[in-house]
Symmetry: C2
Subunit: 415 residues, 2 copies
């Protein structure tokens, strides 16, 4: 059984927005055993949408469409579904009431004719309640195919997927079991890794697929299995990942489920009742931001000094001017002092510090673009490492943030 996703909107095709809806929907469908065969992004154009629907129907049993449900002229999804199903729009009392309630509560004006049109729904549709907006979700079942139409606003779409679409699919379809397991490896490139596990890969059972996902110094190996018997699938994935661990145990850094390194660190610190602070130069607050996107971070995260200007390193982080003069701001001694001083200043158990040059020019120091120092201060000592992170600003920052979390995790696990 396959699903397909069709995202509607010229803004996607001119690159004005990145389509993040598809990844969310795919991931959620996968969790309940529904594989996504194809994702198609099409224009706000009736003919184009009709063709995409017909093509998807030839391949999939569930078709999820997002976008084009707003109240304005460029939104044509409802009309297009009417054409596709030879149907017509009728006013839905429940939706109208919901729109009126939302307006009374948040907008404080009576609803206009345009708003009222949000309550028009094709007669063949089952309405899915959109608690977060005025455009209703719609579910059609025709000719053994289910079509679901959702608003493109992520906040509304996510709510509908989680609370309406997934439970309804779970009720109405028999689904196989899908399991992914991802092993994160460091230290060997994609091709060298492939050479080392070639024999094992060639002998994988048919229902298990292996994928290599190289990114910023890591290669993630993803095992995917699908079948009707949950226990069998789980066991097979376990057996194969154990075999893999024997072959490349020295390279495997961890497994990746839904968790990021920041989350794992958060769990470790919470468990240990320990705290963290950061002093960031070229990473500009990105480490702090990654930490604080995790709900509950206030239990272990104290704060940050972003010392973009050298004067802040001296005035607030109390880095000795002599050290800066002697070694320059981009140096191991400065990174060390930043980590130790912010740890003291914020009274935390651990601290991360970064200083480096992300370019495009040499800036306050004479360090080459891409030169980076990361320091981790722990309850016992401080480590500093130097890295050369390439030449592209964005990648230098991103790789450094990854590296900082990797180093911190290692240190925490030592205790």
């Amino acid at each position: 059984m396959f699903a397909e996703i069709i995202t509607i909107g010229d803004e996607i095709l001119i690159g004005q927005i990145v389509d993040t809806n598809s990844a969310f929907i795919s991931k959620e469908l996968n969790k309940i055993g529904v594989s996504v065969y194809q994702i198609t992004s099409v224009q706000d154009d009736g003919k184009h949408i009709l063709n995409a629907l017909r093509a998807a129907k030839s391949r999939a049993q569930i078709i999820i469409v997002t976008g084009g449900l707003g109240p304005t002229k460029d939104d044509i999804t409802k009309h297009t579904f009417c054409e596709y199903f030879n149907d017509q729009l009728i006013e839905n009392k429940a939706v109208l009431k919901h729109v009126e309630t939302l307006f009374a509560k948040y907008i404080n004006t009576p609803i206009s004719n345009i708003n009222r049109q949000q309550a028009l729904v094709p007669s063949k549709a089952t309405v899915l309640h959109n608690a977060n907006g005025t455009a209703p979700g719609m579910w059609f079942n025709e000719d053994n195919t289910v079509y679901v139409s959702l608003p493109g606003v992520p906040f509304e779409m996510k709510h509908l997927i989680t609370n309406e679409v997934l439970p309804k699919i779970a009720r109405e379809f028999n689904r196989p079991y899908i399991l992914h397991k991802t092993l994160v490896t460091y230290g060997l490139g994609e091709s060298a890794l492939a050479a080392r596990i070639e024999d094992w890969e060639n002998n994988l059972p048919d229902f298990i697929k292996l994928a290599y996902l190289p990114n910023l110094g890591k290669v993630r190996l993803r095992l995917s299995a699908k079948g009707p018997n949950k226990k069998l699938i789980q066991k097979a994935i376990e057996v194969e990942s154990r075999k893999l661990s024997k072959l490349i145990g020295d390279l495997i850094y961890g497994t990746e489920n839904e968790e990021t390194l920041e989350q794992i660190i958060g769990q470790l610190l919470t468990k240990n009742k320990q705290t963290l602070s950061t002093a960031e130069s070229f990473t500009g607050g990105k480490i702090a931001e990654s930490i604080t996107t995790i709900p509950g971070a206030s239990a272990y995260f104290k704060g940050t000094v972003v010392s973009y200007a050298t004067s802040i390193k001296i005035d607030i982080l109390k880095v000795d001017t002599e050290i800066i003069k002697k070694y320059s701001v981009v140096s191991a001694p400065v990174a060390k002092a930043m980590a130790e001083n912010v740890k003291k200043l914020m009274n935390s158990d651990y601290a991360i510090a970064t200083t480096g040059n992300a370019g495009p020019t040499k800036g306050d120091s004479n360090a080459e673009v891409g030169t980076v120092f990361i320091a981790i201060a722990t309850p016992k000592s401080t480590i500093v490492e130097k890295f050369i992170m390439g030449s592209q600003r964005e990648r230098i920052v991103e790789k450094s943030v990854n590296k900082a979390f990797e180093l911190l995790q290692k240190e925490i696990l030592k205790f």
Copy 2:
């Protein structure tokens, strides 16, 4: 003339990664007058890729394919192109030399058989030099259709698009002129806005399209025009956006080209030779991070104190404990003190401060989730505003960061 994009990779269809490549490619193609008709994401599966290529050919003259060019078994794009064109792989001397050079420089080991396979290229392909990796880009021209195959790693793909693909398309195709202009509006919902400009919208010339893009309190109105005559297109867009300004001048906040609000603020500060610092509580460094992603930010950005813990607000930002006791940490007086004190501490001309509750629990204060105070300290005074930002952590932070930049820009423009 249309292009289509096909992105290959199971990781997209299981939602493990968000496809950002398509948005980049679409935007770049648009700039040189090539419209993207459809974007299709398909599995690492030969049959599926062949079907997608055939379908795209029926609609487009340029087909850009990303992904599946790695050295491992799950990468099958090259073999699939051979099948599609009835072609075979041959070793390309230049690519082999490039792979050897990269290995000598970065990996320091002789290349393996697997690496050597990166130099195998279909005989009908023109090689596009991939300076950032081992997988070559490929350009095929058959039956009046151009097919371009690029690696899926964004860093490699972007380099190939910018330096190889776009110049070659520009040389080989006559292209129309495409122009987008986006007006950013605040203060009125999508439907009320539509009602106000209905007459104007109905009278737009055929070659101009209007789109509504609502997002986090803003509605962006995008005018798009396409045609052979550059001057005519530019003039028509100007005329229509002037008409629009007359109708909703009170709501228009600015136009959006490629520039973000952070970039505009950066330009203003650089021009005025003024500086900025931030004191962030629940935004956790996201404001600093947004500022520092802009190359050259060191000219005007001094630094940040992320005071996630209340103790940091007291110890480093010197917020009076009496004020905190009297008003709670989430209050206008605390936001004001944070802004004024960080401005003084970092010796900057402007400062942004945020304090609020992004949830999920009430935390250090008793403020309801979604309650936010943003303060802007300027050379003359400090303003503070209170906002209720909904209930979802991510959205509360994102909306607040937007709002902070919006308030700062207004203040800077007053001087």
